[in-house]
């Protein structure tokens, strides 16, 4: 009997899928008035391996679109924003992507990490759907390989170059030596070769590299090995968890290397996790910190107020999500201006590529896309943790 009930449950579910799935192909009709319609889909990681940074990032996007709607939206444009959690699993990302493309007919996608971005890179190119993610991998700058990928911040490589530049300019006493600490994934390895090349170019010596797993329990053997070379600086391309491990074990082993994290290692979450250990840790700031007084925060705060939230409820990842949505909307706006008909992915591509020196009010460095460059900026700031807070110590600047 038990199994019979179970059976009917299963059959019910199957019927449900077919009813739901056979039906709607996106046809773009049914909207209100003469507004042009456009749909943007988000692939978010909320419950996956990178959920701790992925969640505020996707919330930032959600909030921006809600803000946009609350202010009356954009004239003549009806933007639908969809968001789904793919939990950093590629098979889920693939499925959701198909759904966005075939069922929802999205014209652009806001992606998230290296995993989904890499996995969908070829498909978005052949389907002509612009894809803007928080994977700041230099590979994506190659427009032959990834013609539809965008990102709004400086690439990991550019970040690394800038850090090297800063080290060279600010190091006191002798030639600086640098170690690289990263993990064995596409994300971790992404800037390494570029950093090494640039170091050679400007004459900074890379004395060591260490691989530390994202889920490492300890990093002592790596740090001991690193200590053999006694580097002045350690550039960290990791997530918060692994960065915390590194900082803790460095503290344990009394290692006095100055660690500098690229953007994924940086943020309020690191301070939460590493506590006192994060004091004096430096890092790349790609976006504004919520408590900074910059013009771009005004509309942000306006929205937060309306939601009974304050800047204390958000963090830099949230800002990054907000910014990426803002840039995307800018591109869509441009696309809408250039066409009267349906806004296709190609239109959005052109719209994005028309963005020039977009002022984000200090929330991030100004963004420019062209048909040769889909990395919005090369500029970053460097920050340091002082009294449990990130403080910027430079202005937006690029290594060039």
């Amino acid at each position: 009997m038990k199994s019979k009930k179970f059976l009917s449950l299963i059959i019910g579910l199957v019927v449900l899928v077919f009813m739901a799935a056979c039906g709607d192909d996106a046809d773009g009709s049914g909207g209100s008035g003469d507004d042009q319609e456009v749909t943007i889909g988000t692939l978010a990681d909320i419950t996956g391996a990178t959920g701790d940074t992925g969640t505020p990032y996707s919330e930032g996007q959600d909030h921006f679109f809600e803000y946009l709607e609350s202010t009356g939206g954009i004239d003549g444009l009806d933007i639908t924003h969809l968001s789904e959690d793919y939990a950093y699993e590629i098979s889920d990302a693939q499925r959701i992507y198909q759904q966005y493309r075939d069922r929802d007919g999205v014209s652009a996608i806001l992606g998230w990490g290296t995993g989904d971005t890499e996995a969908l890179r070829q498909q978005v190119a052949s389907d002509q759907i612009p894809f803007m993610s928080a994977s700041y991998s230099e590979n994506l700058k190659d427009l032959d390989e990834s013609p539809y990928n965008f990102f709004v911040a400086a690439s990991y490589s550019d970040q690394g170059r800038m850090v090297l530049e800063w080290i060279k300019d600010n190091h006191e006493g002798g030639d600086p030596t640098v170690a690289l600490l990263y993990n064995d994934t596409g994300f971790g390895r992404s800037p390494i070769d570029d950093i090494k090349d640039y170091a050679e170019e400007i004459g900074v010596e890379i004395v060591d590299e260490q691989i530390i797993d994202l889920a490492a329990t300890d990093a002592q053997s790596q740090l001991l090995n690193m200590e053999e070379h006694d580097p002045d600086y350690g550039i960290i391309q990791q997530t918060w968890a692994a960065t915390t491990t590194i900082l803790r074990d460095a503290d344990t082993l009394d290692i006095d290397t100055q660690f500098i994290g690229l953007n994924q290692a940086v943020g309020e979450g690191l301070i939460d996790q590493a506590g006192d250990l994060s004091e004096g840790f430096m890092g790349v700031l790609t976006h504004a910190l919520p408590y900074e007084d910059v013009p771009g925060m005004d509309e942000y705060i306006e929205y937060l107020d309306s939601q009974d939230m304050t800047v204390d409820d958000i963090n830099m990842q949230h800002v990054a999500g907000w910014v990426v949505a803002k840039v995307m909307v800018e591109g869509v706006k441009n696309a809408a201006d250039s066409t009267d008909g349906e806004i296709t992915g190609e239109d959005v591509l052109a719209g994005l590529e028309a963005i020039e020196d977009l002022d984000l009010g200090g929330l991030a460095a100004p963004v420019t896309f062209t048909d040769e460059l889909h990395a919005g900026t090369e500029e970053i700031r460097l920050g340091i943790v002082e009294d449990g807070q990130w403080k910027a110590i430079t202005d937006y600047d690029s290594y060039r």
Partner: protein, 353 residues
């Protein structure tokens, strides 16, 4: 032989050949024709999105059939499918992208290469059983992925490799529908092969190895040969699935082939039914479509539970686990068993009690 109800209540055959034919009753023949028609005419009335989903389902089915040959039929547990899928995908990527072979050569070669590597990893199966073999394949999963990450000159390391959709002459199979047809043909061939295999001498030997390996030896079955053969044949299918998937997504990277993929495939054959080709297919569809269904359910509940969509994946994970456990406890025969129960019920209708 017709009964008074005009129903065919039994099948009578006049030769062993007829008895042993694959489609040995009229109903089966009709069913087969309908099935083929549905498969080939589907793109005419289903949405593009649906075709895309079906493509994922049938590619998974090929892999699931492969795994079932190893685990369901031969009783050798493998938690390393993910990595073998990767071997197939990478083989195809290397053959087409780096070496410039055509997809049509790369596809079978990818299967063969995966079969060889799978066979190699099958060698320990002579000494290892059950749990220990499972752990060995799990270790293989980690080691293979490590090699893929590190053999940068061959695999381009962690950044992955790019592939193209196959072409026939000048026609690229870039649309959902065309790729669906390609996968469907591969799928039908795989299913046909697998169904025949398991009812032939080799298949019987697999079953024998699974049920009682001692007695199998006494039947003259060389355990080692058949275990390795099961690994190889199984890996061939998985390699083909890997290659098809790689050309579908047009990219391979180590992140595609993590342990959770292995687990999903195991779930497919378990929920579908161990030792059943048909079950593998049902299971593959079930597991692939499960998140879609949950999505719909959560969507329709979103009025009541607004925040659920935010934790959809966690919910999915939860349901995935729950479904596996429920099946194991209440229907260990899987969907295939449910299906045959249902069919039997209707066959005997209205005399089912």
């Amino acid at each position: 032989m017709k009964s008074i109800l005009g129903k065919n209540l039994g099948n009578y055959r006049t030769s062993y050949r007829a008895d042993m034919a694959l489609l040995n009753s009229r109903n089966k023949k009709i069913g087969m024709v309908i099935l083929l028609l549905v498969i080939f005419l589907l793109p005419m009335f289903a949405s593009n999105y649906f075709i895309g989903l079906m493509t994922l389902c049938i590619i998974s089915s090929i892999g699931a059939i492969g795994l079932n040959i190893l685990t369901g039929f031969t009783g050798q547990i493998s938690i390393g499918v993910g990595a073998f899928l990767g071997v197939g995908g990478y083989a195809s990527a290397i053959l087409t992208t780096s070496m410039g072979y055509s997809f049509w050569i790369a596809l079978p070669l990818a299967g063969i290469i995966t079969a060889i590597i799978g066979g190699l990893f099958g060698i320990p199966s002579l000494r290892l059983k059950g749990l220990y073999l499972a752990i060995a394949t799990l270790a293989a999963q980690f080691v293979i992925l490590f090699i893929i990450r590190r053999w940068v000159s061959l695999t381009n390391g962690t950044s992955g490799m790019v592939l193209q959709r196959p072409t026939i002459g000048d026609f690229a199979l870039s649309s959902n529908t065309s790729y669906y047809y390609l996968s469907a043909i591969a799928f039908l061939l795989s299913a046909f092969y697998a169904i025949n295999l398991v009812r032939s001498r080799t298949g019987r030997a697999f079953f024998a190895v699974r049920d009682r390996d001692m007695a199998a030896q006494i039947m003259g079955i060389n355990l080692f040969k058949y275990k390795v053969m099961a690994f190889a044949i199984s890996s061939f299918f998985i390699g083909i699935a890997g290659s098809l998937l790689a050309h579908y997504t047009m990219i391979v990277s180590p992140e595609f082939y993590e342990i959770n993929v292995s687990i999903q495939y195991l779930a497919m054959i378990l929920i579908g039914g161990l030792g059943s080709v048909f079950g593998s297919i049902l299971g593959a569809f079930f597991i692939t479509l499960l998140p879609v269904v949950l999505n719909i359910i959560v969507g329709s509940l979103s009025g009541i539970l607004t925040d659920l969509s935010h934790i959809l994946s966690a919910f999915e994970e939860f349901v995935f686990g729950a479904v596996i456990i429920l099946f194991l406890i209440f229907e260990p025969g899987g969907l295939a068993h449910m299906w045959s129960n249902t069919v039997n019920y209707f066959k005997k209708w209205p005399f089912s009690y």
